[in-house]
Structure formats: C-alpha cells, structure tokens
C-alpha cells in the first residue's frame, strides 16, 4: 500500500489527482437525501419475546446436566432405601419368630377355622387380597418399615397386623409340612414292604 492508497482509504497522505477527478465527476451523482416522509400508518411492529437460540454446545451441556441430575436423584433414592433395609434387619424384634408362632398360633387357628367354615357354608370367604407386584410389595413393606420407625402411633397397629399375618403363614407352613410328612410316610410304607418281598424272593 502506497501513499495513494492512503488517500483512497481515508483521504490522508498525498492526494491522487486521478482519484480526485473521479470524486469530482462522480460526486454529481451523490444522494442529497430529502427528508423522510413517514406515512401515518407506518409504524414499527411490536417486538415479540422469543426463546433465545441455544447453540448446539449449550444444548449438549444442558442435556448432560439433566442426565447427571436424574442419576443423582435416582442414586439418592437408592441410598435412602438401603439404610432402612439394614436397619430393619439389624433391629432386634421384641418377639422372636418361634415365640410369635407359639403365642399367636391359637388365634390364627381360630381365624383359619372361621374362614374355612365360612367357605363351607356360604361359599364366600374373606375378601381375597389381589396379587401385588413384588416391587410394589417390597416398596410397601419399606414404607411400612419407615412408618414403623418414624411414627410410633401407627407402629402398634401395623405390627399387630404383621404379626397376625406372620402367624397365619407359619401355621399354614406347619400344616403343609405335617401333611407332607404324613404323605411321605405313607409313600414309604408300601416301598418297604416291596423291598422285603423282593429280598425274600431273591433270598
């Protein structure tokens, strides 16, 4: 770039006669702005607030942040569940399983008798509780544990219900096991006879 370029650029430096002549000649075409007449109806429109455009990098960062937040919440919920479970395992129960079974067994037997008699007479038993999803039952039991730990007023009722159902279950298991034993003995008795017969035959 020389001096003439400077003149062409910002009219500094040594003037270039050719450029000056061109300026003089072409200057006759220069726009002499008449005042702008704005008609009455012409007005700028109202600006609308629009959602700012997000660059792709920001969008990716926001997505990652959302995923991390989601994971954090999920992990937090998992951790909240875990101590309850350990607590329920480590907390000594006031009544042991065997004691519960022995103590509550008569009541449970009476309840079962009542229910079976009801089925025999009316054909309608106590209201069947619908099957629940394992996860929901687990969640329910967790919730129950939490309630039992957190709220002593509810703990009494809940514990009584739990103990009753546990006793029922234990009784049912005992009945089932005794029946199985009986069936096993009956099944073994003829086999023993056969064995002796066979031995006799062989001998």
């Amino acid at each position: 770039m020389n001096m003439n370029d400077d003149y062409l650029w910002d009219r500094t430096g040594e003037p270039d006669p050719e450029i000056q002549e061109l300026e003089q000649v072409l200057g006759t075409l220069r726009y002499e702005a008449p005042p702008l007449e704005i008609p009455a109806g012409v007005e700028p429109g109202k600006r609308t607030v629009s959602f700012p455009r997000m660059s792709p990098a920001w969008a990716v960062a926001a997505a990652i942040a959302l995923i991390v937040m989601g994971l954090g919440i999920w992990l937090g919920m998992q951790r909240r569940d875990t101590p309850d479970r350990t607590h329920s395992i480590t907390t000594p129960s006031p009544i042991s399983n065997t004691d519960q079974a022995t103590v509550k067994a008569p009541e449970a037997v009476q309840q079962m008798k009542d229910s079976t008699s009801a089925i025999a007479t009316n054909g309608t038993g106590p209201k069947a509780t619908p099957l629940r999803h394992p996860q929901t039952t687990r969640a329910g039991s967790n919730r129950r544990r939490n309630l039992a730990v957190g709220n002593p007023a509810l703990a009494g009722n809940e514990l009584r219900e739990a103990e009753a159902s546990k006793a029922q279950l234990m009784l049912a298991l005992r009945v089932a096991s005794s029946k199985l034993n009986l069936a096993l003995k009956k099944a073994q008795a003829p086999n023993q006879g056969n064995q002796s017969q066979n031995q006799h035959r062989v001998g």
């Binding site: 650029w9 009219r11 000649v25 200057g27 075409l29 726009y31 012409v42």
Partner: protein, 196 residues
C-alpha cells in the same frame, strides 16, 4: 481469485484497522440506542438513522440500478425497514441489515424489469459532467459486486474507507482491499476506453 486474495489480506489486519473496528463498535452502541428509541415510538430518531444510512443505501442501489430508480427506492426501503424494525435481532447491525434489504430490492427490481427495455436515465442528461459521470458509473457497474459497491460508496457518496466499514459491517481490511483492487480495475478499464 479476487475473493481468495481478499481473504488472504483480511488476515493481515493492521492496527489502524483494529482502531477502526473499535470506533465502529462505539458508534454502533449509539445506533442501538436510536433503534430502541424508534421501537419505543420516537419517529424523529428514525430520521437520524435515515440521515446516517441513506448514503449507504443509495450507494448500494446505485451500483445496481439506474440512478432515478435508486432515488425512489431509497425511501421505499427505509419505510419497509421501519415496519420490519422489530425483526432486527442485533440492534448494532442496522447497517448490514438495511444494506441487505437494499441488495434484495435491487435484485427484485431486475427480476421485474427483465422483460422491459431499460433506457438509462443517466444518458438522457445534457450536462457533459453528468454524462461523463454516468459513463464512469456504467464502468464501475461492470466490476465484480464487492468492488463496485465499495467504489460507489467511496467515489460517489464520498465516504471514507473506515466509514464504509462502519456502515456495511465489513472489516476495515476487507474494505481496503476491495478499494485497492477495485480502483486498479477501474483505472485499467478507463485507460482502455481512452485508448480506443
């Protein structure tokens, strides 16, 4: 080829260009204030914007359409821009925005008048100076887009390089290159014409 050279020169921006850019940003701030005032309903401020940018719009049009058409179109473009001013996202970019409107309007003009016979009003004038000006303008119009627009703004509208950069949104280095190369081509064409 010219575009490649211009890009290469853009990378060699000197301190003067940086100063021009800083000045441009300072001026742009005040223009943003004007636009905000217009959007708030102050019509007089739009008159100031018109005063600042009408030479730019006229120059852009003059590089593309006949002179008489350019003068009519300037007012139309400013009225159209006023209606659409709320759509301008960057208030500091009024110059590039209205410049683009002017270029689009010039293209529309050529699309509409393609089938009509264009009689240049510039040649009707009896004044010899105006005739000469019209002839030189025709030569400038035959140059590539980037050069003819910059040369018209410099030689017709009397704007300096930094002013052109400020109004068009181009970098100072780019404008300087366009002026230099455009002037070189114009000299060649003028000497060729005189030689005939």
């Amino acid at each position: 080829m010219y575009e490649l050279e211009a890009t290469a020169d853009l990378l060699l921006m000197n301190g003067q260009a940086k100063t021009a850019l800083k000045q441009r940003s300072d001026d742009a701030m005040s223009e943003a204030g004007l636009i905000e005032a217009v959007l708030a309903g102050d019509r007089d401020k739009y008159g100031r914007l018109y005063g600042l940018y009408s030479p730019l719009v006229h120059g852009i049009l003059l590089a593309r359409v006949p002179r008489s058409e350019a003068e009519d179109l300037v007012q139309d473009i400013f009225l159209h821009a006023l209606k659409k001013l709320h759509t301008l996202r960057d208030l500091n970019a009024f110059g590039p925005w209205i410049g683009m409107i002017a270029r689009n309007r010039a293209m529309d003009f050529h699309r509409r008048s393609r089938e009509t016979v264009e009689v240049s009003d510039d040649l009707k004038s009896s004044d010899s100076t105006e005739n000469k000006a019209a002839e030189i303008l025709e030569i400038i119009r035959s140059l590539p887009d980037a050069y003819r627009e910059t040369l018209v703004l410099r030689l017709v509208e009397g704007m300096t390089g930094p002013e052109i950069a400020l109004r068009t949104g181009l970098t100072a280095a780019s404008v300087r290159v366009n002026l230099h190369r455009g002037m070189k081509l114009l000299r060649e064409k003028l000497s060729f014409k005189e030689g005939m």
